[in-house]
């Protein structure tokens, strides 16, 4: 049993602006718990990217910079290169990280930038009203695939973790979810590991979370949360790479 019922120190008391049942804020809480436990709040810079989570700074009590849409990994690169002593994480949506930002994200990963990138994969562009994203499931209806995602037209779901796992610069690569209590506990461990990897200077740590977007999936919160299991069929929940557990200890 983890320590529960405690409001993390790094989490501000502000009410979340997210829709009822949105998983973003569960992940915020976990992130804050990990920041607290690792004692890095005072030397961490968070990157709020453009998406439903762009108000990250209303909630997480660390220094936060707003990055242009898709550019968090490049902005993070600039920060970390200038100040290697700081801890840097990005918090991005699937549209942000893997659509407009794919180039920035993959290059930062390939260079092995010593930052932690968190991608919240809800298979749609939440903030702009539920358009298709590279991670939209096949045949899923969105506002810009009104007839369902057709592999002949929009291609296939992009499997970011699977790509990154093959990069030499990537030290940690995993996919989690927060749609069951067990997975929430597991998710926190993954987060912790991602930061530990960064603290040891091992390279790029990537963490993807499957996440419910009830509003754009047009589901009630409970069904949406259950539906994350369906996402996991296309996007398996798994640790793809963990150089720390593979014995690499210091950069």
């Amino acid at each position: 049993m983890p320590e529960v019922f405690r409001f993390p120190k790094s989490l501000k008391k502000t009410l979340f602006h997210y829709c009822p049942g949105c998983h973003h804020s569960i992940i915020h809480r976990l992130l804050c718990e990990v920041i607290d436990e690792l004692g890095i709040r005072e030397r961490t810079i968070g990157l709020a990217s453009i998406g439903c989570s762009c108000f990250l700074y209303f909630y997480i009590d660390v220094d936060i910079l707003e990055a242009p849409h898709g550019r968090s990994c490049s902005v993070g690169t600039g920060i970390k290169r200038a100040r290697p002593d700081l801890v840097v994480f990005t918090y991005q949506g699937d549209g942000d990280f893997a659509a407009i930002g794919l180039g920035d994200s993959l290059h930062a990963a390939s260079r092995g930038e010593n930052i932690t990138a968190i991608m919240i994969n809800n298979t749609v562009y939440g903030m702009t009203g539920g358009q298709v994203s590279p991670t939209t499931l096949l045949f899923q209806k969105t506002t810009t695939t009104p007839y369902g995602r057709d592999p002949k037209k929009e291609g296939y779901p992009l499997k970011v973790a699977e790509i990154l796992a093959g990069f030499e610069g990537v030290a940690f690569c995993a996919r989690g979810a927060v749609n069951t209590p067990q997975r929430v506990l597991e998710a926190k461990k993954l987060l912790r590991r991602a930061f530990e990897i960064q603290l040891r200077g091992l390279g790029f740590s990537y963490l993807e979370f499957l996440s419910a977007c009830p509003i754009n999936w047009k589901m009630d919160p409970i069904s949406a949360t259950r539906y994350v299991d369906k996402l996991a069929e296309t996007f398996p929940i798994k640790v793809f790479k963990d150089q720390l557990s593979e014995g690499k200890n210091e950069a």
């Binding site: 529960v4 019922f5 979340f16 804020s25 569960i26 009630d220 409970i222 949360t225």
Partner: protein
């Protein structure tokens, strides 16, 4: 055993806590908060085993320990 406090003003009525509570001790009350949502309350607080699942699943950090 922990005493659990429900921060009603944070609740958005998503129902995840109710769904996942293994003891089925949670439910919507009649009360509406300032955000306009029906808020969660204990049906049978005594049966709660403080397992923490509601805390884990609640997106709004509604459940906090009383101390």
């Amino acid at each position: 055993m922990k005493k659990i406090k429900i921060l009603e003003e944070r609740c958005k009525g998503c129902g995840l806590c109710i769904e996942f509570c293994p003891k089925k001790v949670l439910g919507f009350s009649e009360k509406r908060n300032l955000q306009g949502y029906r808020v969660v309350g204990f049906y049978a607080k005594e049966k709660c085993n403080a397992c923490g699942i509601c805390f884990l699943m609640c997106p709004e950090l509604v459940f906090v320990s009383e101390e």
